[in-house]
């Protein structure tokens, strides 16, 4: 097809060269895909056949019952875990998007005294690894009586604890011309209106990226729920997966089926919003973990 990068010298055997290109791409694809394929294959095997060596690569016969067994496992309410994960993910993400954009609006578009100082403070909190916050946060939540509730996994995100998102949105807001909100004698309500009716509607790309990153990080979070919750009723999916393993053995088929069920909504999000996703990584260099 001749779509070579213009800098490359014309290659005399374009067919061979393209064949090599595809061979390399497929090789990389196979390496990336094998573990995934293995996950799917295991989830569809007859219980018991997952211990055969050499392993059967393709399940014979294909059974779907592992999925049903995984969600109806006695003592492990899969749907309750799912509900907890959904509640945390939605509530925390809503808080993150609303608060981060509101705060970012203040930093980006209002020239108040002390703004630069507080912005540097905000940036410096980025250097604080989450793990370091864990112990003092645990003690704080214990004092507040929030341990073994979902509050520690939601409330802080309504207060902009993820400074990185504030920073990201602020950078975006600054690229929007100031004309609209520079009228000197506007009152507070007018500013809120501008934030809500003018700025937010045209900030789709950055808000989309923040939403995706936030959903991913809360849905996949393991350490937070592990530390702040104890009771079975509050378990998230990420925590619940652990209980397919026991001292007597692991139900690999069910575990893989449950993993795929946990992955499914994320996958759907990824495919429907791939554009925002990739652009978000370009904006940040992070994948939201």
């Amino acid at each position: 097809m001749g779509v070579l990068r213009s800098g490359m010298r014309p290659i005399s055997f374009p067919f061979v060269s393209n064949a090599i290109r595809y061979a390399l791409l497929i090789l990389g694809g196979v390496i990336c895909f094998i573990p995934l394929g293995w996950m799917v294959s295991t989830s569809l095997k007859m219980p018991g056949t997952e211990f055969i060596f050499p392993p059967e690569l393709i399940p014979r016969p294909v059974v779907w019952s592992n999925y049903i067994d995984a969600v109806t496992r006695p003592g492990h309410p899969f749907f309750l875990y799912t509900r907890n994960s959904v509640v945390i993910t939605l509530a925390a993400t809503l808080g993150t998007v609303l608060t981060s954009s509101f705060v970012a609006f203040g930093f980006a578009r209002i020239r108040f005294r002390g703004r630069d100082f507080w912005f540097i403070v905000l940036l410096s909190t980025l250097m604080l690894p989450d793990v370091v916050r864990l112990i003092p946060s645990f003690i704080l939540f214990k004092l507040l009586g929030w341990i073994d509730t979902l509050l520690p996994l939601i409330v802080p995100f309504w207060f902009g604890v993820n400074a990185f998102y504030v920073f990201l949105i602020r950078q975006y807001f600054r690229t929007i011309p100031l004309e609209l909100d520079e009228a000197a004698l506007m009152d507070g309500a007018a500013y809120v209106r501008i934030y809500w009716q003018v700025i937010l509607p045209i900030s789709g790309p950055v808000l989309g990226a923040v939403t995706i990153f936030s959903v991913l990080s809360h849905w996949n979070d393991f350490l937070g729920p592990l530390i702040y919750t104890n009771s079975v009723d509050l378990r998230t999916l990420a925590l619940g997966l652990r209980f397919f393993m026991s001292r007597t053995g692991t139900d690999w088929n069910q575990l893989m089926a449950a993993s795929i069920l946990m992955l499914a909504p994320i996958l759907a999000l990824f495919f429907s919003m791939q554009r925002y996703f990739i652009r978000g990584i370009h904006m940040t260099g992070f994948g939201g973990r």
Binding site: L4, S6, G7, I110, R111, L134, F159, Y191, L267, G287
Partner: protein
């Protein structure tokens, strides 16, 4: 009244109005910062000098925690394990991510399908990925040993072999380099083709072009991926907590797992607070060192 003073009065009232509005907008973050960040971090400084078994209030014990840490064999072991995992694993991730990005940067039809495929493992929840790899690495019936057997290589114990436990985890992480890969891909696409033209005129082949055009142009991204990779690698927890529980013979006792055990299993919050501070300073030092070193070898395009 003179015109100027009226104006300045108006001006200062406008400024005051702006101040009030500004603080109104940043208030949620400011409150959150004081309650959820600054307050707890100040508390953490104090707790590092206390004995705090959680069930009873903290009591000041001076430098006891520091003394304990210096003599703690597991402190050293966990630091070594984390350093091993990071300094072998992160460069490997960067190289692998760059290789994948170079493949994806080839101009062939259908390359977008491969982009999605290469990125897919990265969105898998960390917990699910750990379980998957535990199964793949199973010594008795795992896929990894099956693949080795195809080449006539005897099966390994992988995560359960003290020699191989850390390399196994490194392999596991290599599977999920999608974010680094996308960053590289963006960089590769930004290299102006005129540079390749010039290199080709000078007679540079594929490898020479890579060495003298591509690499210098993307060094800022190599550097960025290294910094971010090291910082996140230092915080490895889930894999060691679930798959190996720090074993075999403490070979996967990573630093955060070590801190976690003291804080939430042994209930030594005071000691754990000190350990958390040490982690903070280690990460800070590496960040600064990397930024300084970057000057020696990072090529920034002159605008």
């Amino acid at each position: 009244m003179k015109m100027a003073s009226i104006q300045s009065m108006l001006g200062s009232r406008t400024q005051l109005r702006r101040d009030i509005l500004g603080y109104m907008f940043i208030a949620p973050w400011l409150v959150g910062f004081i309650v959820f960040t600054a307050g707890p971090m100040i508390g953490l400084v104090y707790l590092a000098f206390t004995r705090y078994p959680v069930l009873s209030p903290p009591t000041f014990n001076g430098l006891d925690n520091l003394e304990r840490m210096v003599g703690d064999r597991f402190f050293t072991i966990s630091l070594w394990n984390t350093a091993y995992f990071t300094f072998l694993g992160v460069p490997a991730q960067v190289v692998w991510a760059l290789m994948l990005a170079l493949l994806l940067n080839m101009r062939v039809h259908g390359v977008n399908v491969f982009r999605t495929l290469y990125y897919l493992p990265t969105i898998i929840p960390g917990v699910a990925s750990v379980f998957l790899w535990m199964y793949i690495f199973n010594p008795d019936y795992g896929l990894a040993n099956y693949i080795l057997s195809l080449f006539g290589i005897p099966g390994q114990a992988w995560l359960w072999d003290p020699e191989l436990s850390k390399p196994s985890l490194i392999i596991m992480e290599l599977w999920r380099v999608g974010t680094m890969m996308v960053v590289f891909l963006a960089g590769l696409q930004g290299v102006p083709s005129s540079l390749y033209d010039a290199a080709a005129i000078d007679g540079a082949g594929m490898f020479a072009q890579f060495r003298h055009v591509t690499v210098p142009m993307i060094t800022p991204l190599i550097f960025f991926n290294l910094v971010v990779g090291i910082i996140s690698s230092f915080q490895i927890f889930t894999a060691a907590y679930i798959a190996t529980q720090g074993g075999p013979v403490h070979t996967t006792l990573f630093y955060v797992l070590f801190v976690y055990r003291h804080a939430f299993e042994n209930l030594r919050m005071g000691y754990a607070s000190l350990l958390a501070w040490v982690l903070f300073f280690i990460i800070l030092v590496f960040t600064i060192v990397q930024f300084r070193m970057a000057r020696l070898w990072v090529f920034y395009e002159v605008e």
